[in-house]
Amino acid sequence: MSGIMGFAIVLAALLLGAYVFRVAGQAVTKNAPTFRDMGFGVAFGYVLGAAILVWAIWYYFQPKVLETGVPNAGVVFFRWAVQGFIIAAVAAFLFRLLGRHVGTAGTRKLFRSMPLTASFGILVILIYAFVAVFAGAIAPYGQAEILGAANVVAGGDPALGGNPEYPLGTDQIGRDILSRLIFGAQNTVGIAFVTTCLAFFIGGSLGFLAATLQGWLDQLLSRGVDVLMAIPSLIFALLLMTIASVWANKLGIPLTIFMVLIIALIDSTRVYRLARAVGQSIVVMDYIEAAKLRGEGLGYLVFKEILPNAMAPLLAEFGLRFCFVFLMIAALSFLGVGIQPPLADWGTMVRDLAPFINFAAFAPTAAVAPLLAAGAIALLTVGVNFVVDWMLHKTSGLKE
């Protein structure tokens, strides 16, 4: 009950604040258009935003450890989050600054009109690519190497149960988490990338073929894709994985290969849809008609006339599809039917390390490991999405 009362009081205070803010603004600025035409909702928004900001700053400077000696984990996590956010913003800013002054004229121009979110995304993608390629060289230990101590807490502080040799600690059977995270980049990202490429190869070529030829082939493929798309993708993937696991046992082929094929198949339906739609919008153009009337063959039409014009939307779609595939693989691994041990993989790591979260109240660092694995997945998809969002915004022109 007191919760509701408190909420009502805060709300009333904010409403009053908004009213005062608008009246005061009008008086101080002598009725400048900004305040004169300001709606009450907008004023409320400003006041609410300011209140949240004040609360956040207040909370940030709360002590890290309560008087009872128990760590105030909420504050710790909040500080980490804020610091992480600031570091990300600064890194993105510096990276954009670098991009504006180094490189060819074309890339410099690109960086000039880039929002911070996009430059952050590009930075993240570059770092991941680097880590994935050179995982073997960077990682301090092997991905399946079982070391002496199990359940070492992250942070490297022996007083809190850490060990400086394993900065992010070890898991239940004593594998170094940092190494596994790094190898996870190679496995998870690499497999997702291959899968996406395969999906694009299948879906893209069939889609363009359908758009150019039309007729019965188009009908057949499109109806088939409709049916496959009527089954939710994760569900369908799980169903096929069940079957594949039996085959994998029987044939002795790693399940991971089946997974790549299955996800590529499911995803190629989405790519097909897009490629066909993009292709169709290009096929109706007069320059395609001109080429047809010239007597050009199918290969010339598809590769020389249609494809160059479809690159921009396809590239954006590639980013989105990659995220989707990546998340699907992570989800399958998390559910225990994806990438198989001993390969290190972020989805599996989250599942294995999840129980640590329950100790967060006593040792904030304990919860870091599972969140790092999940966060590593999130960070990459966020980065890719930021870049794609910017690309789509750019190609759609100045619509807003």
């Binding site: 035409d37 007069d286 050009e296 006339e305």
Partner: protein, 547 residues
């Protein structure tokens, strides 16, 4: 008498790529009560922007940076949003270019009509409804009692445009802004809308700003005319003075467009084999026939203009000739040889002989290819030229279309102006060294001056290379300037055909007559005379329906 609207030193900027670039660079304007001002200019002149600024309104990404807009003593630039809302719709109204897009598809016409008066407290809903029906009747809409209860998509374009004029009138405003209200309409429909707009503006003594790019239209509507060029005023004077004695060179050049005429050609000798012969062509999309028994000939070195309004089957005829839409019946022959109906069955040489130039140069050129590649492809494909030979041939073609080869060879279409793109389209057709070219509305998307240049170029090329043209157009001025023979089409049927001189002198077929007489002329009395001659019920759709 004081001014109703005074605009002084108006400057407007638009945002592109994070910076503000000027659109209007200081325009003055004055309008008295009951006066009609015509704003005229080519695309990008800033006509619509000024029209909206006269209402104190700017679109997203556009701002008034300097100057004042004063309406009846109220400064609209600095007025509060609430004050402006009180004026908009009530004392200043707006009629948009596309009525079909500007009526809300979710509400009935009459509900949208009454919304203004009710919201502004001018009259009650029932009074306003009665008034709406009365206005519909005045604007000669069919079934004025019922038409208001329809949804916008159930009413035709010309009728919607009149309904929108009625809606603008619903509060009896002092000023109406007409933003190209007839541009999207066919000529026979346009004239009806023009007549009703003028009648109602005169009857209620409403001041108006009439925005258009068509000189002949503005001559009928406006008391005075202001000419704009890229955000600057060129000149302003009353309509008759402007038409008889324009001062500035730019204005004169606008007037001169209509003067381009080609000399008469000799008659085709009897027994000559036509380059293209269309015989009894009937074609269908799906099961519905859209062309019925179309026949005509195109002789060597001559231009046949195919004229008609939208939906008359002009473009479908072109698709039949090129083989994109194989006709259901009839045959098409080239130099006396019958062609296969489907383009896929034609030989490379047959395809080469007939080329096409499109209306929208934007969609006709692949945006990812350079000009050199676009023109070079047919050179290589048909002529088999490669390397420097190919390059030389492309340069030759660029010279022919009056574009400097060294400058344009490596450019992309997006770096060219509309007229230049159209020239590249012509060069691509010429590259195949054809005998016959189909020009599908090639000048209708262009400004008048640019269009004239294209027409002259096409005429020169015809004289030099002996080309035959099939010229599809809805614009009779173009027909007058370039055609040798004319084919008039309506609803997929050839209504009348013959040499140009015969077609443009009486006696006409009734439809040809209607089409010809509906084209506005550069004479302020033209509409009056026409109305006097025919009566209000014998123009436009009403006349078409009587046929």
């Amino acid at each position: 008498m004081s001014n109703l609207l005074t605009i002084k030193g108006l400057k407007i900027e638009g945002r592109s790529d994070e910076t503000w670039t000027p659109i209007i660079n200081g325009v003055d304007l004055e309008l008295k009560k009951g006066e009609v001002l015509g704003l005229i200019g080519e695309s990008g002149a800033g006509k619509s922007t000024i029209g909206l600024a006269a209402m104190g309104y700017t679109r997203d990404g556009v701002r008034i940076s300097d100057g004042s807009v004063e309406f009846d003593g109220v400064d609209l630039v600095n007025a509060s949003a609430a004050l402006k809302r009180g004026l908009l719709g009530k004392r200043i109204a707006y009629v948009a270019q596309s009525a079909a897009a500007s009526f809300n598809p979710a509400h009935k016409l009459i509900d949208q009509h009454t919304e203004g008066p009710v919201q502004h407290g001018v009259s009650s809903r029932s009074n306003s409804m009665e008034d709406g029906v009365e206005l519909y009747r005045k604007l000669r809409l069919p079934n004025p009692d019922e038409i208001g209860f329809r949804y916008p998509h159930q009413v035709s374009g010309g009728q919607l445009q009149r309904a929108m004029t009625a809606m603008a009138m619903s509060c009896r405003p002092d000023l109406i802004i007409f933003d190209e209200p007839t541009t999207a309409l066919d000529v026979t429909t346009q004239i009806e809308v023009l007549a009703s707009i003028r009648q109602i503006v005169e009857e209620f003594d409403t001041a108006a700003i009439y925005i258009t790019h068509d000189l002949a239209v503005v001559a009928q509507m406006a008391d005075k005319i202001k000419v704009l060029l890229r955000g600057d005023e060129v000149e302003e004077s009353d309509t008759r003075t402007m038409l008889s004695a324009p001062k500035e060179d730019y204005t004169k050049s606008l007037w001169a467009v209509r003067e381009f005429k080609r000399p008469e050609k000799e008659a085709v000798p009897d027994g000559a084999v036509p380059v293209v012969s269309v015989r009894g062509v009937t074609a269908a999309y799906g099961t519905a026939d859209v062309l019925h028994d179309v026949s005509f000939d195109i002789h060597a070195g001559r231009t046949v203009a195919v004229v008609g309004e939208s939906g008359s089957g002009k473009s479908t005829t072109a698709r039949c000739i090129t083989g994109l839409l194989p006709p259901r019946k009839g045959e098409i022959s080239f130099d006396g040889q019958v062609l296969p109906l489907d383009y896929r069955k034609r030989t490379k040489d047959q395809l080469r002989q007939a080329q096409m130039i499109y209306q929208m140069a934007d969609t006709a050129l692949n945006p990812r290819k350079t000009i050199g590649q676009i023109i070079g492809r047919p050179v290589e494909f048909y002529g088999g030229l490669k390397g420097t030979q190919r390059r030389e041939r492309v340069n030759e073609l660029l010279d022919q279309i009056e574009l400097e080869p060294s400058q344009y060879y490596n450019r992309l279409p997006s770096e060219l102006s509309g007229g230049q793109k159209q020239r590249v389209g012509i060069a691509r057709a010429l590259a195949a060294e054809p005998k016959f070219i189909i020009c599908d509305e090639v000048t209708s998307a262009l400004d008048q001056l640019v269009a004239e240049g294209i027409l002259r170029l096409l005429a020169d090329l015809q004289d030099k290379l002996g080309l035959s043209y099939m010229f599809i157009t809805h614009d009779l001025a173009t027909v007058k300037s370039i055609a040798d023979e004319v084919v008039v089409m309506k609803d997929g049927i050839v209504v009348e055909q013959g040499p140009k001189t015969e077609m443009f002198s009486p006696p006409h077929h009734a439809y040809t007559d209607l089409l010809l007489s509906s084209v506005p002329e550069m004479d302020p009395d033209w509409l009056n005379d026409l109305l006097k001659e025919r009566g209000v019920d014998n123009i436009g759709d009403a006349a078409v329906d009587k046929m």
